[in-house]
Amino acid sequence: MKKTYKILPLSIYDIPGIESWLEEQANVGLFPVFLNTLCMFTGTGIPGTRFRLIAKKKREEQPSLEQLELCEEVGWQYAFSVADIYFLFYSTNPEAREFYTDWESRGFSLEPLKKQIASYRRRKVLIYSLLVAAIIWILFFHESTYDIQPDHFTQLPLILLNLFQPTVLLFLACAIWIWRQDRRDEKMLNSIYQALMQGVAPPTSKGPSKTIVREEIVMVALILPLAVSLVVNCVDALKPWINIPLERFSKTYISLQDIEREAVFPWEKLFAEEPFGGKTENYAEKKFSFLAPTWYSVTQEAYSPQSGLKENYFSPKPEHGVERYAPNLEATYFELWIPALARPVAKAQMDAYRLVNLEWSYAELDFSDLDFAIYATEPDGIWQMLAIGRANRVAVFRYAGMEQLPDHLKVLSEAVKESLL
């Protein structure tokens, strides 16, 4: 049997409107077999059919057999359940007694629906409030026992960049869109309920609306990419932008070998067997924010060919060659839409790189080619950080090795010399 599909051009709570619309469809030979945002019709509609939507008391409720029998006796047939909200009844008999013979009882029938909506709204407000409160607490008030130098607000610029990620924006757009539709639907139901409870006819429906159809299309257009994006974000194997081997990574980055005086090599060139975590030692990861269209990080680790038998920076007391010099360089590069964000983003990324159980000292460095250079060290330790910026470009490095990053400012500044795009 041929099926016809239509988008419901009315609010799901515009009861008189939906009933009239279904009657119009029946007049052109269409009979509903499924009704929700998307409606399905067969060509078995009989002109003159009346439709009535009866609010359910509970979502899982089914009409009782006695109720169905009584309805049939007076000329009404049960069609199906609509969106877990209504039962749909229809009558092809023009003599059949009206389903509701007074306005008030129809108003009473909407009470459970009103309660459900109010409870849904309360639950939603509660969940969103808890979520926001939890996020705020984690971001700004939570203090880890091991964090000896906390600064809760430093990471705000990075949070801002993350907020402008496509998935987050899609989620926010969906949430706002749904909230807007819910408000409209709730107002519609309230106006119908108030009129019925005063014993008068419900306000006349404005009828099918192209705006509502367009809004539903926008909703689908938002939800589909959001769903895909959420699935992709949950499965690492589906993310082509993470764990990119450096051989296949074409963007500008500073190679670890370029700042090492001693020759160092990736593990593949030195060992037959990969070291622990070897597969993920040298890789890049891309990110995207509408505020930072170019945003990526590169992680590198390399090894000295000389084993730990001889004393070196990491192995002052080598034992049987177990340890060897293995410097590590992590770097994150940004190209921002708003140049004013460069310095705050650099400081935020430094905070993200900060190893929380270490005490850091920060100092500004002067370098003619750069707008700023912030150097961070942890006294008596092996870790250093350097954040540099020029115009809207930022590079932040975290390094463990025997070199001093300020000695390599000229090389490092190449990362922000030209556009990273």
């Binding site: 057999l65 009584l70 009470e111």
Partner: protein, 103 residues
């Protein structure tokens, strides 16, 4: 917290409650009683009947006594009788007030 004060009964509500005063009834019997009592002036649609029965059950004015296959039977509770008498008194006063003005 005090119990919610119920407003006046609508006409279909009044007759449905009245139908239980002498006996327990099922949906079809209620319909017949109301149609007969009002000489067809008040006819109950199936939506009206079941919405009111649901509401009365919720407010404990009636209770279900028997489920026999498709047939569900209800009876009035003492709270239901109270609500009926209260409404009857209100209606009597209305009639009295109306008649007084005609004299």
């Amino acid at each position: 917290m005090g119990e919610k004060v119920r407003g006046p009964l609508t006409e279909p509500m009044f007759y449905i409650l009245m139908s239980f005063l002498r006996q327990e009834r099922c949906g079809t019997e209620i319909n017949e009683f109301v149609a007969q009592k009002t000489c067809g002036r008040v006819l109950l649609g199936p939506g009206t009947l079941y919405t009111i029965l649901g509401k009365f059950q919720e407010e404990q004015l009636i209770e279900e006594t028997q489920v026999d296959g498709r047939k569900r039977t209800y009876r009035i509770t003492s709270k239901g009788r109270g609500a009926y008498w209260e409404e009857l008194e209100r209606l009597k006063k209305c009639v009295c007030d109306g008649e007084e003005e005609l004299l």
